[in-house]
């Protein structure tokens, strides 16, 4: 067990964990940040997606010891009021069915748009393809990413 100092959602937090613990379970079990979800544990579904220095990563496959001073952003830190362009678009298009994968979808979309504010259809498909949605909300995910892109100045 070691103590880790992490930069999460703009705050510095300290937590004790085994060095190989994945960031996902540190977020969930230690820090009470429950937006990132467990879906597969092997980086295949994307439900656990968070940002590391603005890049979408699979928190289930990142050991806490590898985070260092890199800035972690979870869905809870994406916006103060849940009204970032991607979140607003997700609501407007009414994307969620069960909702379990949606935090990961939103984090993936937000990372895409931060880097590529006006993505082509192919870029949207490439970015969102790795995130599974078992309910099949894919049509509205596509639509919401386009809407979010239009909302961004």
């Amino acid at each position: 067990m070691a103590t880790y100092k992490l930069q999460i959602n703009g705050k510095s937090v300290q937590t004790d964990a085994e060095s190989d613990t994945s960031l996902l379970w540190v977020l969930r079990d230690n820090l009470g940040l429950l937006g990132a979800k467990y879906g597969c544990g092997i980086g295949q579904c994307g439900a656990c997606t968070v940002h590391l220095n603005g890049v979408a990563v699979r928190s289930c496959s990142l050991p806490v010891s590898a985070i260092g001073n890199n800035k972690v952003t979870t869905i809870e830190g994406l916006s103060v009021n849940g009204d970032s362009p991607v979140q607003a678009a997700w609501h407007e298009v009414d994307v969620p069915q069960c909702g379990y994968c949606q935090a990961g979808q939103i984090m993936t979309a937000a990372a895409l748009l931060a880097k590529t504010p006006k993505p082509t259809v192919a870029q949207i498909d490439d970015a969102m393809h790795p995130n599974l949605c078992r309910c099949g909300t894919y049509h509205r995910i596509r639509e919401a990413v386009v809407l979010a892109s239009n909302k961004m100045k």
């Binding site: 979800k37 879906g39 544990g41 092997i42 969620p96 379990y100 949605c133 078992r134 099949g136 909300t137």
Partner: protein
């Protein structure tokens, strides 16, 4: 809101004051039979011993709280149920608050399954809203001394047109509580609906898009322990011996306990128990048959010729029809086992105390979870509370209580609050699959191309009846025989979204395509001819509505421009399930020698559509689900264990593989029928029939991408 148990009028008003006042109206979801709706007086609501199942409350500020009793699994019931109440209440939707009800034995059918919630509750929800509206109007009439007939309502207000007076529901709520409950109320004419039939967004969107802890796996409590359970990896094996010493010695591990065939590792974090579990040394021994997929393939084929079949339906003389036939078409179709794979794996929280049991988690059948828990522990169900969380998908997996009972048993052994979590590998390897099934279809045809005889035999592995003997084309064929054969296996199966029909529809609708093409008839016209025959000269019982089926066929044909599109290969399919009718036309385009599934047109008759947004989602989701599993998904067994245990080897459909899906609803004003499942069954055949037209390859087994017929055929991604 707390449960109110006092019984007097005075207490009611007092408690109303405490709980911000207003009108509490209990409504009995159980008694919607003609005139039997039993809107309960506040006194009765408060008595606590009257069978009311849910209630709405109106605060003096005009905020209306509606409880939604059924588990929310993504079918959007938590939005559509309250919409129905609010419609008849004439509530201002922006001031409606929806709460998930806890499990209460007074609710009826508090479950999610069978696409049955809206059809079951439609009438009683409307009456609940209408009854409250009636009382509010009467209260306003009394206050203003005007006839209630002179009053109208809109958006949470009562209006008196002559004098221009208006008053909000909140201001009337306390007075309305003293109005006599009407024995019967008039429901709105459909043309006056303001909310039903519009697109209303999911009431939980704000929480979902900000990552709020809504799901069972998100349930945490101070002092709670975490557990993972090692179950036998192979079906047909049982626990022989276990060495827990290495696992127990791991940091963060509290205990390792064994019960039934389970070895549970209990600890202080999810990570700790998952890691320690890998150090368990377990020996298993054979308890039943150890089967592999090769065995299943052989068994399914052999049993198609078994002398022991259960006859499900017999019309006319099918042998004579085949003897007299001028042409016979015969085909076999097979599907693999499938896991449900809800994205939230199984999990449940249980705290078994001396004085009672607390359960929290995601289940489609909370009542079953409670009664099974009571049975397991030998206690009264009254001692058990169950708080329903949101479900991260279900697809039928969460109809079973096995994962609840494990948590209960573990908590009772370790005498501590515990959340049991399944890993994806546990979930995919842990059983309760869609059964593997093989069908043989045979059709006899006369010289004019009429189908004179129809034989279907289904062989399933733990499928029970693998047929649906009264579905189309039963009733349309003079000589018909439908039989099923069952193979019992240690591999556990269960209801998987659109049970049986999720594959039967593919097989049947592909076969009818084969028959139509064999007699050189248009596939749609061929089906319409059969339906017309069923109408003019029905054979035996007909348990589907011929006109509704014709309605969706015609709508799909019209919207897809059936037969009129150049450069596109269209495939047709239609199916009746869960009281609703869905027809689909899939379109395949050949690009550089590759078939690309471009679009699926869907025509749905589910009666009145409550929520356009949610309904479109259910249909599209069903189509994506049906397409994905037909094309890609495969669960195989080696020596009793699944070979696929996670998403690296088990393929689910992803975003790029999804074609456009256009959804059209039949507008016929019929009371709502099912929608959570009916869009799934027809999809596989629409696609397979279109792929056949495009490539000349007939797909009879699933998943498509692994079939010999598609070797050398490059499926293109839709772009």
């Amino acid at each position: 809101m707390s449960i109110i148990t006092s019984s007097t009028r005075r207490n009611f008003l007092k408690i109303s004051g405490v709980t911000a006042g207003g009108l509490f109206l209990g409504f009995n979801w159980a008694d919607a039979d003609a005139g039997g709706f039993n809107a309960l007086s506040p006194e009765k609501v408060l008595s606590g011993d009257i069978s009311f199942n849910s209630y709405l409350s109106i605060s003096p500020e005009g905020v209306i709280t509606i409880f939604s009793p059924n588990p929310e699994v993504g079918q959007n019931i938590k939005t559509s149920f309250p919409m129905i109440v609010a419609e008849e209440l004439d509530a201002d939707w922006t001031r409606v608050k929806v709460l998930q009800a806890v499990l209460d034995k007074k609710y009826e059918r508090q479950l999610t399954g069978g696409s049955g919630a809206i059809p079951h509750s439609w009438e009683r929800l409307r009456k609940a809203g209408a009854t409250a509206r009636h009382m509010l109007v009467e209260a306003a009439a009394k206050r203003w001394s005007v006839p209630s007939a002179s009053l109208t309502t809109n958006k949470g207000m009562v209006m008196h047109k002559e004098t221009g007076r208006t008053i909000g529901y909140g201001d009337l709520a306390t007075e309305a509580a003293s109005i006599a409950i009407p024995s019967d109320v008039r429901l709105k004419d459909r043309k006056d609906f303001k909310l039903i039939g519009t697109a209303v967004r999911n009431v939980d969107n704000a929480d979902i898009i900000t990552g709020k802890p809504l799901f069972g796996i998100d349930f945490y409590r101070e002092g709670m322990l975490f557990a993972m359970i090692q179950r036998p990896v192979s079906f047909g094996m049982k626990l022989k011996s276990v060495d827990t010493s290495a696992a127990k010695a791991q940091p963060g591990i509290v205990d390792v306990v064994t019960f039934k065939n389970n070895v549970a590792v209990v600890g202080k974090s999810t990570w700790a128990v998952n890691k320690a579990r890998k150090l368990l040394k377990i020996e298993y021994e054979k308890e039943g048959a150890i089967e592999s997929t090769a065995d299943h393939d052989r068994i399914l084929k052999e049993l198609l010729d078994s002398p022991d079949a259960t006859s499900r339906r017999k019309d006319g003389d099918v042998d004579a029809a085949f003897q007299a036939a001028s042409q016979i078409v015969r085909s076999e179709y097979q599907c693999p086992f499938l896991p449900h794979n809800p994205l939230e794996p199984m999990n449940f929280f249980a705290h078994v105390r001396e004085d009672g049991v607390e359960l929290v988690g995601p289940t489609q059948t909370p009542e079953l979870a409670r009664t099974e828990t009571a049975k397991l522990l030998g206690i009264s169900p009254d001692k058990i509370t169950l708080e329903l969380t949101r479900l991260g998908g279900g697809f039928g997996r969460r109809l079973k209580a096995d994962y609840v009972l494990e948590a209960v048993e573990l908590s009772s052994i370790i005498k501590a609050p515990v959340k049991v979590i399944w890993t994806r590998e546990d979930d995919m390897g842990g059983g309760s699959y869609r059964p593997a099934v093989r069908y043989r279809f045979e059709a006899s045809l006369d010289a004019q191309g009429n189908m004179t005889g129809y034989r279907l035999r289904g062989v399933g592995i733990n499928a029970n009846n693998s047929t649906r003997e009264d579905n189309f084309p039963s009733g349309a064929v003079e000589n018909l025989l439908i039989e099923s054969v069952e193979h019992k296996s240690p591999i556990t199966t269960g209801a998987w979204r659109a049970p049986i029909t999720n594959f039967l529809a593919f097989a049947e609708q592909s076969f009818l395509d084969e028959v139509a093409l064999a007699v050189k008839q248009d596939p749609i016209q061929f089906r319409l001819n059969l339906l017309n025959r069923a109408k003019t000269s029905p054979v035996g019982a007909i348990r589907y509505d011929i006109d509704r089926m014709i309605g969706v066929i015609q709508l799909a044909a019209e919207k897809s421009g059936w037969g009129k599109k150049k450069g596109l290969s269209q495939g047709f399919s239609v199916y009746f399930s869960h009281r609703s009718y869905v027809a689909q036309v899939a379109e395949v385009e050949m690009k550089q020698g590759k078939p690309i599934i471009q679009k699926i047109h869907v025509a749905v008759d589910c009666g009145i559509v409550v929520n356009q947004s949610g309904a479109e989602q259910q249909v599209r989701g069903g189509v994506v689900d049906g397409m994905g599993h037909a094309m890609f998904s495969n669960l195989t067994f080696k020596d009793g264990a699944t070979e696929e245990r996670n998403f690296n080897t088990f393929r689910l459909i992803r975003l790029k593989e999804v074609p456009d899906v256009d959804v059209h609803f039949v507008d016929n004003g019929i009371d709502p029928t099912g929608l959570g499942e009916p869009a799934l069954p027809p999809t596989g055949a629409a696609i397979a029939n279109a792929l056949y037209k495009a490539t000349g390859k007939r797909l009879r087994n699933q998943p498509f991408v692994l079939q010999e017929e598609l070797k050398g055929v490059k499926l293109g991604e839709r772009m």
